[in-house]
């Protein structure tokens, strides 16, 4: 074997680079997996990005992957032997799945979700389950019942959320790819705050079967990676039509990596002015300006546009997502799984106690908000109204994409903030997702790539495409990545 006296080349390698090492017999999957497990052991006291690590399973899967890479059995693919992390709201057979909630501590799913099954079939090596905001509700990973995740660029700061563990692990070199879920920015915002690539595909492209439901009409699974090419490869593995998810689309799937070298010359890119919200940090704005200049130099036609309903997207989201969450989370009744109590006179009281004790503050807040919005007398004013404005927001995007191939915006209005800084004001926390939320409302594809540094912390650049324009946003992001070196900057951890 090749020994790695300094492993930092390996820690920050892309999955494609790792696969090249596998193919060149320079390194085995077992060796790569051991290196990741050692890295996890040494970094976790400072990061807390994993809720569960499964070393024995990982090494067994790595051995199987090595056999496959050596040509016996099934053909190897881009993720064969690649150590990955799965966010802990994906159902994993026989491995505890908590959604970072006390109400699910100890829950052992009897089945794999579809994305997990596809990753296993592709030969990916699952290292463990990633920390997140409880039930994916949050923008800082501070609402986890397993404690906050620390940003590897500055461990006093949040990694973003809700896929905070996933973003921190990829940024710190604890895994090569992580898989998260994005309901209002939960992949892209932490990717931005940790200086990596994160993509929310078009709604319906990846089956949600086995993803613990939050806002079913908004939730979408996607990859967090250290390169745009890895993101495209990962999407090729997990996208499929699944009869177990009635919203999964039956469209024939592109090779999502097909246009990564196509460039942006002649691409029409719009900049929606409403995304430059009051309170956006000057460093984020100047990084964004510089990024626009780079895209222009690459031959893209950049022009300003207006999407006036953007101002209402946050309200629409914080009515629809909590409403769907209040219905989805009604299944946690403490009877069939999760936290239960016998210390009650009636079944109803037992459920009230289990939910009162099992859910954290943010989850309760959203259940209350959603229950209120759906309750008699308020349904039309809140839920129906929000769904109607949702229609108008979709139309506004559809009209914009008659003129533009893609839109670009900053991913988040600020860089990573201090742990504890925004916990006292829920609405300020919600504002973190102001640039990512409209995309989920309209079901569009969107990717965040490393787009600069401000105050020594990463800034993200977001590409938004039309429905099923996933290859377009990947193409734009890849061209930008190739012209910059932000993706080669890593935290000193």
């Amino acid at each position: 074997m090749t020994t790695h006296s300094t492993n930092s080349d390996l820690y920050f390698a892309t999955a494609r680079e790792l696969r090249t090492k596998f193919d060149g017999r320079e390194l085995s999957s077992v060796e790569a997996t051991r290196a990741m497990l050692d890295r996890i052991s040494s970094l976790e006291p400072n990061l807390n990005s994993f809720i569960t690590v499964t070393p024995e399973r990982a090494l067994k899967d790595a051995e199987a992957a090595d056999r496959r890479l050596q040509g016996s059995g099934q053909e190897a693919g881009p993720l064969t032997g690649v150590p990955i992390m799965i966010k802990d709201n994906f159902s994993t057979k026989d491995v505890e799945t908590t959604a970072a909630s006390n109400i699910l501590k100890g829950y052992i799913p009897p089945y794999d979700g579809t994305a997990v099954r596809l990753l296993k079939e592709a030969g990916a090596v699952i290292l463990g389950k990633g920390n997140l905001d409880e039930f994916a509700m949050g923008s800082s990973n501070e609402s986890s019942a397993f404690g906050p995740v620390h940003n590897p660029w500055d461990t006093d700061r949040v990694p973003g959320g809700s896929s905070g563990g996933a973003a921190a692990a990829v940024a710190a070199g604890e895994c090569f790819i992580a898989f998260g879920s994005d309901t209002g920015g939960s992949i892209r915002q932490p990717a931005s705050l940790c200086g990596i690539v994160g993509m929310k595909p078009t709604y319906g492209l990846v089956s949600r079967f086995g993803l613990l439901a939050f806002g079913s009409s908004l939730d979408q699974i996607g990859p967090l990676t250290r390169s745009v090419a890895d993101c495209a490869d990962a999407l090729n593995v997990i996208s499929n039509h699944d009869h177990r998810d009635s919203t999964s689309v039956a469209a024939p799937f592109d090779d999502f990596a097909q246009d990564i070298d196509a460039g942006v010359a002649g691409m029409n890119i719009g900049v929606p002015k409403e995304y430059m919200v009051d309170g956006m940090e000057p460093g984020v704005l100047s990084a964004f300006e510089a990024s626009l200049k780079i895209l222009e130099d690459l031959g893209a036609n950049i022009s300003e546009t207006s999407l006036p309903l953007t101002d209402h997207a946050l309200a629409v989201y914080y009515i629809i997502a909590p409403s769907e969450a209040s219905a989805n989370l009604s299944r946690y009744d403490g009877v069939k799984y999760g936290l239960g109590t016998l210390n009650a006179d009636t079944s109803a009281q037992a459920t009230e106690i289990a939910r009162g004790e099992g859910f954290g503050d943010e989850v309760k807040r959203r259940i209350f908000l959603g229950t209120y919005a759906l309750s008699a007398g308020y349904y039309d004013a809140y839920y129906k109204k929000a769904q109607q404005v949702r229609t108008l927001i979709r139309r506004e995007f559809t009209d914009a994409f008659l003129k533009f191939d893609a839109l670009v915006t900053p991913t988040s209005p600020g860089v990573a903030f201090k742990i504890g800084e925004k916990m006292d004001d829920p609405f300020q926390m919600y504002m973190n997702d102001v640039c990512t939320i409209p995309v989920n409302i309209a079901g569009l594809p969107s990717i965040s790539v490393p787009g600069g540094i401000s105050e020594d912390l990463p800034v993200g650049l977001q590409f938004i495409g039309p429905q099923f324009g996933d290859t377009t946003v990947i193409r734009g992001a890849a061209a930008y990545e190739q012209a910059t070196n932000w993706h080669q900057k890593h935290p000193l951890i």
Binding site: P110, H312, S347
Partner: protein, 115 residues
Amino acid sequence: MQAQSPLLSGRVARTSRETMDPLTPKDVEHIAQLAYIKLSDEESEDMRVQLTNILGHFASLSTVETDGVEPTGHTTDSNTVMRKDEPQPPLDQDDVLRNAPDRDGEFVRVRPVLE
């Protein structure tokens, strides 16, 4: 385009608190009953203040003209999806029941449903 662009100068998002009637303790109690969540008195009061504040930020939605606009439930525009009613292998019973807080053989035990 950056030099002459007004878009980077910052602007006021519509997030200011607009007037609405605050929720009452009775409203919060009612929601708690609907949601099957028991809150302490302190939690209830915090919830009342925070929900009132958050809902206040959403009052601006009423200014959007939506007469005759169809609501969007989800974005794939698919209709009811049907599949053939064919038997599939079920989950292993033990795998499923091992998660129950209180199990009795093949059954899940619960507290009395009727008072």
